[in-house]
């Protein structure tokens, strides 16, 4: 999962980047509305955390312009917590609304909920054969036994699980698993797929050569 954080306050921005990286997300950050809008247009994010109050182009404006081209899930952060602000924000196309100060756990949980809604998935766990993926704890068990996955392996598996039944192209995976500073040449997807097959079984992920990867619905 890859998210964009648009926040003008450096301390909060860096804290959020660190928090989401530790949670295994690929994270890009923007310090102002113009930059944020550009990135939001250029890349396919799974979610955007957008600050309401920013000098120059504010969150409301970013959202208004973004919604004219894209429906990426947006979580608004604001210090202004009046009913009127919330209503305006939601009506402009924000998918959720969180008032500062907030508890990190709530932000993470709400973001997971946004991603689930975006993929039309109900619960926070996936069951594929005897493999269970817990997206809250970010843990995978096979036949009840926990399997240690690297952050990248987990992210790949989770994304394919969200898109189960569809062939996910390599470029879509690069886009959602790596942040803007990473070099895909040192991160071949096939490497992580091989390692996932070794750990979880060869049938789990299917390679469609020249097209992409798929976790089949039947498996």
């Amino acid at each position: 999962m890859r998210i964009l954080i648009v926040e003008d306050e450096a301390a909060l921005r860096d804290g959020l980047v660190k928090l989401f990286r530790e949670e295994g997300y690929a994270v890009d950050a923007a310090a102002n509305g113009v930059d944020g809008l550009q990135k939001a247009k250029d890349f396919e994010y799974d979610a955007i955390v957008l600050d309401y109050m920013m000098p120059g182009m504010d969150g409301r404006e970013v959202l208004r312009r973004l919604r004219s081209v894209k429906r990426t899930p947006v979580m608004m952060l604001t210090a202004r917590n009046s009913v009127e602000d919330r209503v305006v924000g939601l009506d402009l196309g924000a998918d959720d609304y969180l008032a500062k100060p907030f508890v990190q756990q709530e932000l993470l949980a709400r973001l997971r909920a946004l991603v689930r809604r975006n993929h039309s998935v109900g619960g926070a766990t996936f069951t594929i054969g005897n493999i269970i993926i817990d997206t809250v704890a970010r843990r995978v068990t096979k036949a009840g036994q926990p399997e240690a996955l690297t952050g990248r392996e987990y992210a790949l598996l989770e994304y394919l699980a969200y898109r189960r039944g569809a062939v996910v192209t390599r470029s879509e995976l690069y886009e959602h698993l790596f942040d803007e500073n990473e070099d895909t040449l040192s991160n071949l997807l096939e490497v992580h797929v091989c390692n996932l097959r070794r750990k979880l079984g060869t049938d789990l992920i299917r390679t469609r050569r020249g097209m992409g990867y798929e976790i089949p619905v039947a498996s």
Binding site: L188, E190, V191, C194, N195, G210
Partner: protein
Amino acid sequence: MVFHSIRWRILAWNFGLLAATATVLLVAFYQIERQNRLQTVDLQLREMMSKHMGAVNDLIPGSSGPRSPLLTASGRPRTPDVAGQRQAKAEAALNALEKERIWVFVADMAGPVQFRTLAAPIEPDLVERCREEVMDEAEAPTKGRQPVNQIVSYLGQRMLVHRPPGQMIVVFGTDTQALEAELHLLGWKLALGGVVLVFLGGGIGWVLAGRSLRPIDRIAADAEGIAAGDYGRKIDVEDTESELGRLAVVLNDTFGKMNEARDRVTQFTADASHELRTPLTVILSDSQSALRQERTPEEYRQALETIKHAAVRMKTISDGLLELAHGDLAQPVEKAPCDLADLADESVALLARLSREKGATLEAKLESATVLADPARLGRVILNLVMNAILHNPAGVRVVVTTARVDGQAELTVADDGRGIPAEALEHIFERFRRIDPEGSRHAEGAGLGLAIVKQAVEAHGGTIAVTSEVGRGTTFRVRLPEAKP
């Protein structure tokens, strides 16, 4: 410290074992000899007693013969007033006993000595001792009990104490002081012999240990020389079949290999620092000249551009060095089954844009071939080979990547129809810091480590890599890896 040397230890053990063995043997010998000698004495005493008891009995006061004074003035017992036959018999018996140096005395269990021959030592505690020896059982006052015989050694006397039924004891004894002295002397001789034996054996051991350890000293001296920096030095081997000779051969082999490794590391370090120094020099000189005076933004931009370029080159070099160092450590990774074709497919797809930018045509003919591998390393092998083919050839080059199963092996080939590599450069192509691009070539920023890394990774997977090339017609790299069951 010298006492911790092997020679001293061998000596100590040799000494200890010899001394223990000699002590046990000599003590045993002494004891057996002593027992033998005393048994002979005992046997004689018993024999004499059984032979002359009758006669002695006659001399006991209160026996069947009439009472008589104990001794004459000459020390001979006054012949009791008995029949001449008896007297003669007693005389004969006493003479015979004297000749055998055996003395006799007769005493009451509680009372005084009643009869003694002249030689009999009748110190009170000797007599008391004889009584004690036969007392325990004698105290049972039952009549008709068995007579008791007991051997007693006391005050240099060996005695056979006889107690017939009744309150008397008859003691036959002989002086064993001479015998004891003789045994004492024997003991001293044996001890002296033992000491001489132990020292002689120890000395021989010392010499032998010294002789057999001398080659070790020589090996140590040679090894010290090597440790002191004389890396080319070899250990002198006299006899390659002996245990120490084999050790020397093994050590020579080990030192030789370490020496080679050291040379390689020295060379590698020199190469690496030289390679890193070039871009560093660029960074230093460009930044200094940019700072010397006020420049136009365009000039600053150019300086920064050059510096960035040099920094990228340094990063490439240090990344490569790091990877090679990891490979040298040969850390075991968990190998996963990977399809060479899928890895090649993704690599080709990732390099499609680069090849378009460089005006190259990139093609793939892929057939599944499963190998057991560390996918990350294998992926870098493919990327490296394909990238090399694109970057080291002029625009318009055609690069073909194929994967297939050949002779039960998985094969990957990367072929180009580019400029080719001269034979003399081809020989060294997998060595570290070998760049075959002509001076001023557009890809001169490569670190010259890529193919060394590739070869190391392929060999770590139990595979082989070969290269064929013809100048003007192109180059083909062929990697073969053991095939795994898909």
